[in-house]
Structure formats: structure tokens, C-alpha cells
Amino acid sequence: MENIISVKNLNAYYEKKSHVLKNVNIDIPRNKVLAIIGPSGCGKSTFIRCLNRMHEVVGGTITGSIELEGEDLMKTDPVLLRKKVGMVFQKPNPFPTMSIYNNVAAGLKLNGTRNKKTVAPIVEKSLKQAALWDEVKDSLDISGINLSGGQQQRLCIARTLAVDPNVILMDEPASALDPISTSKIEDLIFELKNDYTIVIVTHNMQQAARVSDYTAFFYMGELVEFSETRKMFTSPDNKKTEDYISGRFG
């Protein structure tokens, strides 16, 4: 298997005092889905934020190295990096003052692509990829906040896809959604992994088992176990992993 991201000796801190991630080493395989599981406060969100340097926005610092396709992340311009490594958040956060169309086009416009002939097909393609096109194609000019929660989250995914990233980070993308919307998002993830590498944080064991190829279990800031999902959920190496997966703690 070929790796797209390679993380070595990663340590993350918030304001020097709290040591959130401890010596994490992990290689993320290309065009697969990696699920990150672990109890609250174990550093899952911080870990994926480090992958597109969003940890800096909330005042985090890191040591160690993260390489994206052989290039050191910390030496890349974060603005360029985030176009390659997109992010979908826990709560759907479409831009309220923009129409559905403009929400999807937002990333392109930030890049300076304004030509309607270039933008319109990308918007349509992204909405189709996000399985939202059929529901919104007649109302592209209404505001994104008129959509339901699940639709809003798929809109956010379409917005991320429009920038054409290589990697998509998802921070509990379905935890604020109802079961039907959740299964739509999961189907979507399954579709998307043909073209993208996906790293998804989840609290939901079944979700991790359903959508991911690989699973990483974090506990107290350390990477306890990282293996193929099938193996992780049938015969984990570590006792803690087994306890967590079987619901004995966390």
C-alpha cells in the first residue's frame, strides 16, 4: 500500500501546558478511509487538525514531522495546504449569507477563479459527488441555511470537494445528524474513497466498522493501535482497544 501522509514523532500542545498528543507515528494510506476512534479528550480532533494545520487556528503548537506526499507540512503555506487537505466539521457550517451555489463556489472564488464557465460545472459536479444535486438543483440561489441539517452537511462536503483536495478530514461529520442523514453521509464516504483519502473522527464504533478500511485507536494522547479495520474489530492486539471497542469504558 502507498502512503499519502506520514506522521513521525508528533507531539501537540496547547499553550505549552497541556500535552495533547504524545509521540504519534502513523502512515496514512492513499485512497482509503482511516477512522480515528477513542474516548473524548484523547486527542482525535487535535490529530486531524494537525493534518491541515487547523490546530494553529485554535492556538496549538506541534513538534515532530508530518509529510504530505513527501513534503514537510510545517514548511508549506497553510493556505495552499488547506486546498489539498480539506476539512468537514462536526456541525454543518455553510456560509449563511451565501446561496447554495455560492457556498460550493466559495473555495474557488477564494482562489480567484471567478469565470462562470469554469465554476458552474465544478459546482454541479461537486454537488453530484456529494449526492445533493437532485435535491437542490432547482433552488441553487437560496441560502444554504434553508436546508436540513443533513443536507447542510452534504453541502459542506460539496464545498470541500469543489476545491479538489487530495485528502478530506472529517471531524465527527454525522454526530449532529439523524440516522437517515447519517447513512447518507456514510454511503457518500464509501463513494468518495475511490478518488480521495479520507480521515474520519468518530465516536460511533459501528460507523467506524462500516465505513473505514483502517482504524486508529487513540487513548490519552497516544496512538494505542493502528491496523486494518477488520482486524481491529475482530482480534485487536491491545487489551485497551478491545475494552473500548466492546464498550467496557469510554
Binding site: N93, G107, I142, N146
Partner: protein
């Protein structure tokens, strides 16, 4: 545990629920509800009553001058001819120009405070900005008379008339006292209001919006632009509050504007505002008609303020509506 849907009130039951609260047997709730209703209604009545009173007291001048009160440009208490056009002009021009200077500055300061400043700098700076709002206007006026006016007279106006004198706005003798001084002092006075409200509005935009923009590859400035777009109705509200203060400001303006009812394109010329006229002249208003005209001026100021606030509401409402349901 099986979830029992029947526990939740349906629509009819909800209505009944609220009715019950309204006709609650609890005497405390009843008194509290009626009392707050009374307060709310009294605010509305007060506005109506003020308008009515002013209309009654200005009847004399309304009957005598009619619409020429608004269109006439002579304000002559000796001959008892009262045309308020130059005064309305002075009020609106001074306020709008002050706003034109203060608005970009305020937004800049607010963006710095809300988005860019480290917290050790943000707190004292915000405090200073709010302090600026608390200075009594007569102190601003005094500062205007002794510091601002001489500075404008000796440096700003000669420079402007030298470089831009071909424009009618910067043409004329540099007195110091005049529209320019009033505009500058007003802009300093409205800056803290617009700044502190805009800062609060910006801070109330959820962090998720900034993160969404940044995660799409926005630069810091692009993310701020998106946050500004989210808060535009709040910023508009802040602007209108600032405009309200500028239009109604009396003391500081009276002390520096020169107090002559004059329509002139030049910023160097003296001017007059409605609030200043009322403050300056009501003690000298010996005749019935003179007093009545001053009250009519107050009525015009009152109506203009209501119209501006109404327009602002309308603008905010139409902007919001456009995005709620396209």
C-alpha cells in the same frame, strides 16, 4: 425504554398550554405579565405623545409657513421669517460626512480588536474605545474650541485650500469654526459607538464560520471578509445608531460649527444644525411664532430620526428575508 410520543404536546395542546400560562391562576405571574405589558405600551405611548405635543405647540408656525418652513432658506428671527432649509442641510451634511469618516475607521478598529489583536492588547484598547464614548460632549466641544479649531485654521484649511482649492468644497476663508470642525468632532464622537457594537457583532459570529473559510484555503483577510459579510446587518444597525447620535448631537457641534444658517458647498464655511439652533435660541425666543418655529424644528428633527431608523430596520429586514427564503 420505549419512547412515548404522546407525552409531547401536539399543536392544539401547545396553544392550550400558552393560554393556560396567560390566564394563570398564579397571581405573581399575572401581575408580572401585566406590568411588563404596561411598560412596553408606555414606551410606544410616550413617542406618540411627544409627537402630538410638538405638533400642537408648533401649530402656529405650521399654519403660517406651511411647507415653506422646510424649503425656505431665510432664518430671520427679527423679521420673523423662518425657513429651516439651511439648518436641515447643515444637520444632514455634517452627520453624513462624519459617518463617512467614522465608518471605515470604526470597522477597521473593530476588525483589529475582534479578529487580530492579542488578548493582552484587546482588553485595554476596547476599554479605551468605550471610555471615548463616555466623555461628556461639552468636553469634546471645549477640546474642539481650544485645540481642534486653531489647528484646522492654521494648518488643515490653508493646506486644503492650497492643494484642492479649485474644488468648491475647499474654497473660502479659513475661519476654523465651521462645517469641517463639526464633521471632525462628530466623527470622533460616533467612532466609539460604531466600533464597540461592530466588535461585539464580529465576536458573536461563530468560530465555525472562520474555520470553514480557513479550511477552504482562505487567507486571514478573506476569512475576515466572510465574517464581515455575516455581520453586515449588525454593522448597519451600529451605523444607524452612530448616525442617530451625530444628528442629535448638540453641545460639541454648537461650540465649533459657527452657528450661521447658510447653505454653502464649502466645508470651511460656518453652518448650523437643528439641535444647535434649538439649544442656542430657545432662551431668546420671545415671540409666540419664534418659539413655535423652534418647536417645529424639533418636530422635523424627531421625524427625520424616526424615518432614518425606519429605513434602517427595513433594510436589515429585507436583507435578512432575502437569505431566509430566496
Amino acid at each position: 425504554m420505549k419512547f412515548n410520543r404522546n407525552v409531547l404536546p401536539n399543536k392544539e395542546e401547545k396553544k392550550g398550554l400558552f393560554k393556560k400560562i396567560h390566564l394563570s391562576n398564579n397571581i405573581g405571574d399575572f401581575v408580572f405579565e401585566r406590568l411588563t405589558l404596561l411598560f412596553a405600551v408606555s414606551v410606544f405611548l410616550l413617542v406618540l405623545l411627544m409627537g402630538y405635543e410638538m405638533y400642537q405647540s408648533s401649530k402656529l408656525s405650521i399654519d403660517k409657513f406651511g411647507l415653506s418652513f422646510l424649503s425656505g432658506s431665510t432664518w430671520d428671527p427679527v423679521k420673523e421669517i423662518f425657513g429651516a432649509l439651511p439648518i436641515i442641510y447643515g444637520t444632514i451634511v455634517s452627520s453624513v460626512l462624519a459617518l463617512a469618516i467614522a465608518l471605515p475607521l470604526s470597522i477597521g478598529v473593530a476588525v483589529f480588536l475582534a479578529e487580530l489583536a492579542p488578548s493582552w492588547l484587546e482588553k485595554p484598547l476596547s476599554f479605551l474605545v468605550e471610555l471615548l464614548a463616555g466623555i461628556p460632549s461639552v468636553v469634546y466641544g471645549l477640546w474642539g474650541v481650544f485645540v481642534l479649531v486653531p489647528w484646522i485654521r492654521d494648518y488643515v484649511e490653508p493646506y486644503l485650500s492650497d492643494k484642492l482649492g479649485f474644488l468648491p468644497f475647499f474654497n473660502g476663508a479659513p475661519y476654523g469654526f465651521g462645517l469641517l470642525a463639526a464633521v471632525i468632532i462628530l466623527s470622533v464622537m460616533v467612532l466609539p459607538i460604531i466600533t464597540s457594537i461592530t466588535r461585539d457583532v464580529l465576536k458573536s459570529v461563530p468560530a465555525a464560520q472562520r474555520e470553514a473559510a480557513l479550511a477552504l484555503g482562505a487567507t486571514r483577510w478573506q476569512a475576515i471578509k466572510i465574517v464581515l459579510a455575516d455581520s453586515r446587518s449588525g454593522i448597519l444597525g451600529a451605523t444607524m445608531l452612530g448616525l442617530g447620535r451625530a444628528i442629535g448631537e448638540t453641545m460639541a457641534v454648537t461650540m465649533v460649527i459657527g452657528n450661521r444658517a447658510l447653505i454653502s458647498p464649502s466645508l470651511f464655511d460656518p453652518s448650523y444644525t437643528m439641535a444647535s439652533v434649538i439649544a442656542n435660541e430657545f432662551t431668546e425666543a420671545t415671540s409666540e411664532l419664534y418659539l413655535s418655529s423652534l418647536v417645529e424644528l424639533a418636530l422635523v428633527l424627531f421625524v427625520i430620526t424616526i424615518i432614518i431608523n425606519g429605513l434602517a430596520r427595513l433594510l436589515v429586514w429585507s436583507m435578512d428575508r432575502k437569505w431566509r427564503r430566496g
